[in-house]
């Protein structure tokens, strides 16, 4: 009996404390209607009614996923505060600590950021209930790369990135290959063969630095596979992607595409291809042990920090048959607004300032070494591949980035291992095509 009494007492203690801990998240019902939300943290109501708080007193929290620009963005935020008096706090997680999980945790713990990052449709589908559209912002007229769903703009493009077959300019000259001619599978085949025969002269291990191992699944399952989704199509054409999402494979394209994968794998270094990580792959190109690399302009910082300074540029991927005239250009990630933010106006103003003000341009181009997605930017990046990317952007033609609009995990989890088996020689090209087709059909 007494034991029971003691137990009850303890339980009471526990329940009391537990209830005390949970009172803050009682408002999980989703409303944007400002008078229905009870919020114990602040005395003004949440929602879209922020007019009663002057912009000066609002504090914007931005939670982003690029570790490499955290310092620069924080410096820019401090500059912004000096200019306008609005405090902007930059929080970052990324690289090895997965952003998506941390973002969910951030929301669960009620430390909601005002601005956060999504990467295409996958992120949109996860966060749709939390987003609010941008309307009539000045920057919207200056870009074609904003994130749009059904005609409504939800995302501010962080930067432009692009990838193609990056090549070592001097090496191609030495081998007598004209990079301008590299626009089809036949041309690539001839060029690869020629360079391969001059391996010793050029001092290279293999023609292409390509990686398909467990650490590099994004290269094959996302970036390379995007060739199947969009190479040779008009910018913004999503027919192949839509078919994929409905569980239908375009066999003609897939067959042509498999030839391209085979060509790349045949002219790669086996060790880098099967077990290489990012450093191994980029390092092979950076130390001039390959003429080409299958990567994008994001390898610039690696090159700079390792003192690599030979001229390099991009050539198109010949993912399918026919003439391919441009590289894959897109915005990898977008800043989006949290619809429960109490600092909405300040958040919008901050983004607008970044896109329209000289200081913002300077931060994006010179400090963070990014290629901005806005037409009013006149600054030119210093890094070789980013500068070359800016030229491709200026030409006004691009193949779309669609790899982030596939179902979550499909690229890196489902199909990337198939590339690895193909690279190892465990399966034939025929089996490679059929396995990918099967996986696409499983998406029905």
């Amino acid at each position: 009996m007494k034991k029971l009494f003691a137990l009850l007492l303890t339980l009471l203690l526990v329940i009391g404390l537990f209830a005390g801990c949970t009172t803050t998240d009682t408002d999980t019902t989703d409303t944007t209607d400002s008078d229905a939300v009870m919020d114990d943290e602040t005395d003004d109501s949440a929602g879209d009614d922020t007019a009663d708080v002057p912009m000066k007193d609002q504090e914007v929290v931005i939670y982003q996923n690029k570790v490499e620009i955290h310092e620069q963005l924080s410096a820019f935020a401090a500059e912004y505060e000096a200019a306008t008096g609005v405090k902007v706090t930059v929080k970052t997680s990324g690289g090895d600590s997965p952003y998506a999980e941390n973002l969910k945790a951030e929301f669960q713990s009620d430390r909601q950021p005002d601005i956060f990052v999504i990467e295409g449709m996958g992120g949109y589908n996860t966060w749709a209930s939390k987003l609010t559209p941008f309307e009539n912002e000045e920057w919207m007229d200056l870009t074609a790369l904003e994130f749009v769903v059904d005609g409504t703009t939800y995302g501010f493009p962080v930067a432009v990135e692009g990838w193609g077959m990056a090549y070592n300019v001097d090496m191609l000259k030495k081998a007598g290959v004209d990079p301008a001619s590299l626009t089809s599978q036949e041309a690539y085949e001839a060029a690869f063969e020629k360079i391969d025969s001059m391996k010793d002269e050029l001092g290279i291990k293999s023609v292409v630095a390509m990686a398909a191992g467990p650490d590099m699944r994004w290269v094959t399952g996302l970036h390379n596979f995007n060739g199947y989704l969009s190479a040779g199509l008009e910018f913004g054409d999503t027919t192949v992607l839509d078919k994929l999402n409905m569980g239908e494979a375009d066999m003609q394209r897939l067959t042509e595409y498999a030839d391209w994968v085979e060509l790349l794998f045949n002219y790669s270094d086996r060790a880098v291809l099967l077990t290489g990580n990012y450093d191994a792959q980029v390092g092979q190109f950076g130390t001039q042990q390959s003429a080409f690399i299958h990567q994008g302009n994001w390898i610039d910082p690696w090159m700079i920090s390792n003192g690599v300074d030979f001229p390099m540029a991009f050539a198109p991927h010949a993912s399918v048959k026919g003439e391919l005239t441009t590289i894959f250009i897109g915005a990898p990630s977008f800043y989006v607004l949290n619809n429960e933010s109490e600092n909405m106006d300040a958040a919008k103003a901050f983004l607008n300032y970044m896109a329209t003000n000289e200081a913002g341009h300077n931060y994006m181009v010179k400090e963070a070494q990014m290629v901005p997605a806005f037409t009013n930017v006149t600054l030119k990046p210093d890094a070789p591949l980013s500068a070359n990317l800016a030229e491709w952007v200026a030409k006004g033609k691009a193949y779309t980035w669609l790899q982030n609009d596939m179902p979550d995990g499909f690229g890196m989890g489902t199909i990337a291992p198939i590339y690895e088996s193909f690279a190892k020689g465990d399966i034939t090209k025929e089996e490679f095509i059929n396995l990918i087709k099967d996986k696409i059909e499983e998406l029905k």
Partner: protein, 301 residues
């Protein structure tokens, strides 16, 4: 309020903080997880999950990757339990003999256990990728120079067991040392007078006397092998790809890694949670069974 009640009250008061934390961070989340595994929970704050019943559990068993992962985990566990216990028992015998520098050896065997799993994984990855081919080059053996250990499913599994043994054997060795030092010398002396040889002494005296340690070590190695995550992430990242029943699977994606990938890479939180529940049930079953049978073999002095 008599003395007894007062004592009880004080006892519970002292227990309350620990009990409370345990409730809050283990018991409550466990039951929440159990509930989530029957829903389409997405972990996005503010979205109410819909109840699905057993759909997540049904999907699990039709998923070839999960079945493969299960088999692979059992194989890995079996091999690593044997390998760790064998190595650590051997070491324990060595460093309890009268040899020179035995304390130095003890410390040396134990040190890898102080290195975090991630760091250790990267170290071994470097050894398998760069050092082994370099040694092959020095020896002039082409086969070793061209060998890509981490591209071969079975070699990779052995590499993983090797790295895990290297990390864990020193810790298990310490438990065996403590047990070996507790074996009564007079028993061993008596048997020697009776003319028992080394093997007879080992089999009839030492092993039964340290059966208690076996219970603990096999439990620890079993559970830890089953839950292996960090070394895998650093060393192999789930790869290399392998072919199983005409499907391409990740050969070292053991259960913990598989659950993480389903939940976070494929963004199927609820499905991952359901698999974690099954993982919990299987692991409980296996480890309780193991402890029960090991306990039966222990002897009392």
């Amino acid at each position: 309020m008599n003395r007894y009640t007062k004592d009880k009250l004080i006892f519970w008061l002292f227990l309350a903080p620990a009990l409370l934390s345990f409730l809050l961070v283990v018991i409550v989340p466990f039951f929440m997880g159990l509930y989530y595994s029957f829903t389409d929970w997405t972990a996005v704050a503010g979205e109410t999950p819909n109840f699905l019943g057993f759909a997540n559990y049904a999907n699990m068993f039709s998923d070839i990757a999960f079945r493969y992962s299960f088999l692979r985990t059992f194989l890995f566990t079996l091999l690593s339990v044997i390998s760790i216990n064998f190595i650590s028992l051997t070491f324990a015998f060595l460093v309890t003999r009268e040899i020179k520098f035995k304390n130095f050896y003890r410390a040396g065997f134990f040190i890898p256990n102080l290195i975090g799993g991630l760091v250790l994984g990267y170290i071994w990855q470097f050894i398998f990728k760069s050092v082994v081919p370099a040694i092959g080059g020095l020896l002039g053996i082409d086969f070793i120079e061209q060998l890509l250990i981490l591209a071969e499913p079975n070699l990779t599994l052995f590499g993983l067991i090797f790295a895990f043994t290297w990390q864990y054997a020193g810790y298990i060795m310490m438990i065996y040392i403590a047990a070996l030092l507790n074996v009564p010398q007079e028993l061993l002396e008596a048997s020697e007078i009776d003319g028992a040889n080394f093997l007879q002494k080992l089999w009839n005296i030492t092993i039964p006397m340290i059966a208690q340690a076996f219970t603990i070590t096999s439990f620890l190695t079993l559970v830890n092998s089953f839950k292996q995550y960090d070394i895998i992430i650093a060393l192999t990242n789930g790869g290399p790809a392998d072919i199983y029943q005409d499907h391409i699977v990740n050969s070292t994606e053991l259960l913990a890694v598989h659950i993480y990938n389903v939940a976070f890479k494929y963004n199927n939180m609820a499905e991952g949670q359901a698999r974690a529940i099954v993982f919990f049930i299987v692991l409980s079953f296996v480890s309780i069974g193991q402890v029960y049978f090991s306990k039966k073999r222990e002897v009392e002095m």
